[in-house]
């Protein structure tokens, strides 16, 4: 990178570990390194800290601490939930998901098809809203589990999980939601909800990478995915990733405290960025459902140019964002989310996702507003489609 300054607006990819979180986890490497399962006090005392972390996370989610299983990441949580449902009801061979799921669910779906299961992907409309009528048609007595994300990572769209859970339950299916992007931004009170299982990831809410959790509602049957010791009340084998679990607990505590900021300050910055960019730059479009989406995410298409080129020029200025363009991934096809929404190719290739966090400042947003329009103009001057 040619610039020392880093403006990080890619928080749906990962977040900065909060310095407070880092401080909280530090003692669990070289000092309190005992195994929480040990009988001696040195190790045993660690389990008290894990208990506290579990309580903090439960408080953020509005659930009981016993309903939380710590895992290694969001993907493990997603896999555990869906595979558990399939194991528990072997006569039900169908899984219903949305067309815009994260690869952790989408690609598991493709694998399940190879293993002989039926997987139905429910389409979305041009704003990315789920076709609920279609979902109602597809969920039936064959369905083991319905899994629809709480919020989408690319557009920030929020999905009506309560209504979807109801439909699943009417047919005796379990409901799981990938809430990796929603936790910490959308207030939750799971004890009042009808959600059976929920997946979350630490590194999306200012904890480090390598830790996640799966919520399983009390009374909901669950079959472990990772078989081993008695950890996590025999629901997830493997010695606890203690330091990271402590970090996730601390991050949850901070997220609860900062939830308001996400929905006020962060939202205001996002709205400013989006409004300014779309008014300064001609031929743009905002992808997603602006009436129902996360407060930190904005997905903007700059028509007739290609996303990787935009990102690389932004990178020269230290601005970090991401794109739904094909070229950024080497997949040759633009993002499956934008394609599912029917975003035209003229716009899909030039889509940029900005995802903010509470660490972003107004100065940073102003800097992007100043620096990005000339980049777009420069690439459009090279483009044969720009007249």
């Amino acid at each position: 990178m040619s610039s020392d300054k880093v403006i990080y607006v890619d928080n749906n990819a990962t977040t900065q570990t909060d310095p407070e979180v880092f401080e909280a986890m530090k003692p669990f490497f070289c000092e309190l390194y005992g195994n929480p399962s040990s009988i001696h006090t040195f190790g045993g005392q660690v389990s008290g800290h894990i208990k506290k972390a579990r309580e903090s996370l439960a408080s953020l989610l509005g659930c009981e601490p016993t309903e939380i299983i710590f895992t290694s990441c969001g993907t493990e949580s997603d896999n555990s939930a869906i595979m558990s449902a399939l194991h528990l009801t072997p006569d039900r061979r169908k899984v219903v998901i949305s067309k815009v799921e994260h690869p952790a669910v989408k690609n598991l779906g493709s694998e399940l098809v190879r293993r002989g299961y039926k997987v139905e992907e429910i389409p979305v409309d041009s704003k990315g809203r789920l076709d609920i009528d279609r979902l109602k048609q597809e969920v039936n007595s064959e369905t083991a589990v319905v899994s629809v994300m709480w919020a989408n990572n690319e557009t920030g769209n929020i999905y009506p999980v309560k209504e979807i859970a109801q439909i699943a339950h009417q047919h005796g299916a379990q409901f799981h939601t990938d809430a990796v992007q929603a936790v910490g931004k959308v207030p939750m009170n799971l004890s009042k909800e009808n959600i059976d299982m929920l997946s979350l990831s630490g590194h999306k809410l200012h904890a480090p990478k390598g830790v996640g959790a799966l919520y399983v509602k009390r009374g909901v049957r669950f079959r472990p995915y990772i078989i081993g010791g008695h950890q996590e009340r025999s629901r997830r084998g493997g010695t606890e990733n203690v330091a990271s679990i402590i970090a996730l607990g601390k991050a949850a505590e901070l997220a609860e405290k900062n939830m308001k900021i996400e929905n006020t300050k962060v939202k205001a910055l996002r709205d400013k960025l989006e409004a300014e960019l779309t008014s300064i730059v001609p031929k743009t479009r905002v992808n997603g459902d602006i009436d129902s989406r996360l407060p930190n995410t904005s997905n903007i298409s700059f028509e007739f140019i290609e996303g990787e080129a935009i990102l690389l020029l932004m990178n020269q200025l230290g601005i970090c964002a991401s794109s739904g363009s094909a070229c950024t991934t080497g997949s040759l096809e633009p993002s499956h989310v934008l394609r599912a929404m029917g975003v035209p190719y003229t716009a899909a290739h030039g889509s940029i996702r900005f995802s903010l966090s509470r660490f972003n400042t107004e100065d940073e947003i102003d800097y992007i507003i100043k620096k990005l329009p000339p980049i777009i103009e420069r690439l459009r001057q090279i483009s044969p489609y720009w007249k």
Binding site: E306, A309, G330, L332, E333, P334, H349, I382, P384
Partner: protein, 282 residues
């Protein structure tokens, strides 16, 4: 993030010859917005010498597409049309030093735009010698034909379907044509391999021998070993002794001695000269 080298980044950040030539003598346009890259090339010729005196481009695409276009314009400036017609995607990559494998299709796009412009100049406006429109469409996602697959495979010595995806995008969408692409390649190289054996055996000069051995290794032996995860390199030829190095899985395979005698030596004796012996490099 792609690991572009300095040369590619230079051409991307400061592309040469961007723009249009209103009174261009030839215009070539390839790609489309659906595929994620497109290139429009403008050529101006000297009326007497028919040399390319000016060239401009406009490109929709990623950094490597823009860099490839810029490199192409530098390359062809001053060339006659005959010289330009011989430019391949390899020449473009050579100027850039290297491109990530998955981005090689950007250099192919450059070559195609140039060919389209030359065809346009010659008046083959609609009957453009554009491989995209020749033959049967194999990859429906990106509209790539068997003719184009064969041409690119031959030019760049490609044996695997995945390599074709890197160069043409074919098979990179839904992926359901990858088996068909592999079949086309297998057939192509089987036919190519038969070619040298048809020639009457004669005493070879040293240079002829070296070239022939290299050709048989590349076209006949290497693909066979690659199917099992191995590979082979020609190290030296001393008289009738061919010295090779087995790589990949072959290098650690306990049966490599057998491979050497039965596969490599037999093939070389069959296609080049019966008196050859093969040894492994120490």
């Amino acid at each position: 993030m792609w690991d572009y080298n300095k040369k590619v980044m230079d051409h991307f950040l400061n592309p040469h010859n961007v723009g249009e030539i209103p009174d261009a003598d030839a215009v070539g346009e390839v790609g489309n917005i659906r595929c994620g890259d497109a290139l429009k090339l403008f050529l101006k010729l000297d009326p007497k010498t028919k040399k390319i005196v000016d060239v401009k481009f406009k490109t929709f695409g990623c950094a490597s597409a823009i860099a490839s276009s810029s490199a192409l314009t530098e390359l062809v400036k001053g060339m006659t049309l005959e010289e330009a017609a011989k430019v391949t995607n390899k020449d473009i990559v050579k100027i850039l030093g290297e491109l990530p494998e998955e981005k090689l299709h950007c250099s192919v796009m450059g070559m195609e735009a140039l060919q389209a412009a030359i065809a346009n100049y010659k008046g083959e406006k609609d009957a453009v010698k554009d491989d995209d429109h020749d033959g049967v469409v194999i990859c429906k996602c990106f509209g790539v034909t068997d003719t184009k697959i064969r041409a690119v495979a031959k030019e760049n010595n490609l044996h695997k379907a995945e390599e074709i995806t890197n160069y043409t995008k074919a098979g990179g969408g839904c992926g359901c044509c990858l088996d068909d692409i592999q079949q086309i390649l297998d057939e192509l190289w089987r036919k190519e391999a038969q070619k040298p054996s048809k020639q009457a055996p004669q005493k070879l000069t040293t240079v002829q021998k070296v070239m022939k051995v290299q050709e048989v290794i590349d076209k006949e032996i290497k693909p066979m070993l690659e199917r099992d995860g191995g590979s082979i390199e020609l190290v030296d030829i001393q008289g009738d002794k061919v010295i090779v190095r087995l790589c990949g899985r072959c290098a650690s395979c306990p049966a490599s001695g057998v491979t050497l005698k039965n596969t490599v030596q037999d093939k070389l004796r069959e296609f080049v000269a019966p008196e050859l012996t093969v040894e492994e490099a120490k």
